[in-house]
Symmetry: C2
């Protein structure tokens, strides 16, 4: 099944635009539980409330060789009908990107990946070739440093356009297999609206609500498409670390459900 | 020891600006030898001819969990006085970059890393904090797609400047610990010259000679500093796969030595 179909199916089935980021901070996990059990219980408690999960590779890589085992385990614990995004932000010259794409889609069997556009088309093309998988290109990120380069005004055909909108434009051109999406932070709702206008149908992965301060309502209003879909709103710590006690799974379910309902009340009718 | 001291020490000691990229293509390794032995023999045959080694993470990640073991093994095989660059092209929001920095510098003990600037300062700052390690920021890459964004003319203080030069300028500002370098492809010698002019002392990692077609002479002339140093000229396949036969180690030594001499003849007196 194509990534977009799988995503729309889980959006409809769970009536949800939430993506839970499985980025555990090991210091916030209850003492008497293993990391693998923690992740399993979070997934079991939330998998009927999300449209996707996102796994941040850095947290697992920071653990050394056992991290790879956990990464594999975490991915395996997620029910097959829920798409899983590898938040890896990769991008390299052609044959290297090809190796990364193999690692992420074939060895680890993720449904989608985040990639960095700085190196241009041939750094992303090996990912795009996997036409059943989703490729989320970093466009306007949620962090403060995003301003350093992404909002620079660039000259293109005599017009001034910010770099992030040129990235959105190129991403649209590269979308010949219908598997391209964008990453846009909830911390910059104005840019999110402009990007959505330029790419009416593309899925947009939206991090930055919660801890980073992005506004949920604007993320939904500016980020969804005309059918109230195609926005994947990520939340990590706010959900998975809703409690440090033994009730962490129940609390994570409640936090996820609360956010899901809040998001749905801002969605256009669907 | 600070990264730059370690680099200059190996440049002087081995009279070399060569960095060998340990990116083995497993289909080009002689049948009767393991990947680990292949890498060991390449290192033993060349470690007195290089100023650094570079290990491409993608090739190892593409192998799955055993790749991590090989990555660790490959790094361990390199003599401690030769700097090793993790070619990982990472970059993410602050706490994620912090996890990557820990993985690369602490768990794997690399001397330097390549990072992607698209997400701006706070995505790079956690790497910079490791003041003893080198941070090579992608500036103008060697691949064809580099043109898509890196050469866009940007408006800054009413002036038109290509994006890659703004990245070089910012990188210089961020270099408060003296541990920042840039990545510039040998395939764009003109840009290399402009970047060297803007950053007279910064080390520049230069991929793109050999297979990618970059000119060795121009890489040296435009890439070195006023002392004929601070250019780290990478070669991978041309050296490590110089032969597919049992003589691969000897042949890799000969290829490395030939390139080392060619580079040295173009260097300013040192």
């Amino acid at each position: 099944m194509k990534f977009l179909e799988k995503l729309n199916s889980s959006v409809n089935c769970n009536q949800s635009l939430i993506c839970i980021g499985l980025d555990p901070d090991t210091s916030l996990i209850p003492d008497n539980i293993s990391l693998e059990d923690f992740i399993r219980q979070i997934i079991e408690a939330t998998s009927d409330l999300v449209c996707a999960y996102k796994i941040n590779f850095a947290f697992f890589e920071a653990m050394g060789s056992e991290g790879y085992h956990f990464l594999h385990a975490a991915r395996s614990l997620i029910p097959r009908h829920i798409p899983v995004i590898a938040d890896a932000k990769r991008g390299d010259i052609g044959n290297t990107s090809r190796a990364y794409a193999r690692a992420i889609f074939e060895k680890l069997d993720f449904d989608a990946v985040t990639v960095n556009p700085y190196m241009g088309y041939d750094s992303i093309q090996p990912f795009l070739e996997h036409s059943e998988r989703g490729i989320f290109i970093l466009c306007r990120t949620s962090n403060p440093g995003a301003n350093d380069f992404q909002n620079l005004q660039c000259l293109k055909d005599e017009n001034k356009t910010p770099l992030y909108l040129l990235v959105a434009e190129k991403s649209r051109q590269w979308n010949i297999h219908g598997n391209v999406g964008l990453v846009v932070g909830a911390t910059c709702p104005e840019e999110l609206g402009l990007i959505r206008k330029q790419c009416p149908e593309m899925p947009i992965l939206i991090p930055g609500i919660g801890h980073q301060g992005g506004d949920v309502r604007l993320a939904v209003v500016n980020g969804t498409d005309s059918n109230g879909r195609s926005a994947i709103i990520n939340s990590s710590r706010q959900i998975i670390h809703a409690s440090r006690g033994d009730d962490f799974a129940i609390q994570s379910r409640q936090a996820a459900n609360k956010l899901r309902k809040e998001i749905n009340q801002y969605r256009r009718p669907f």
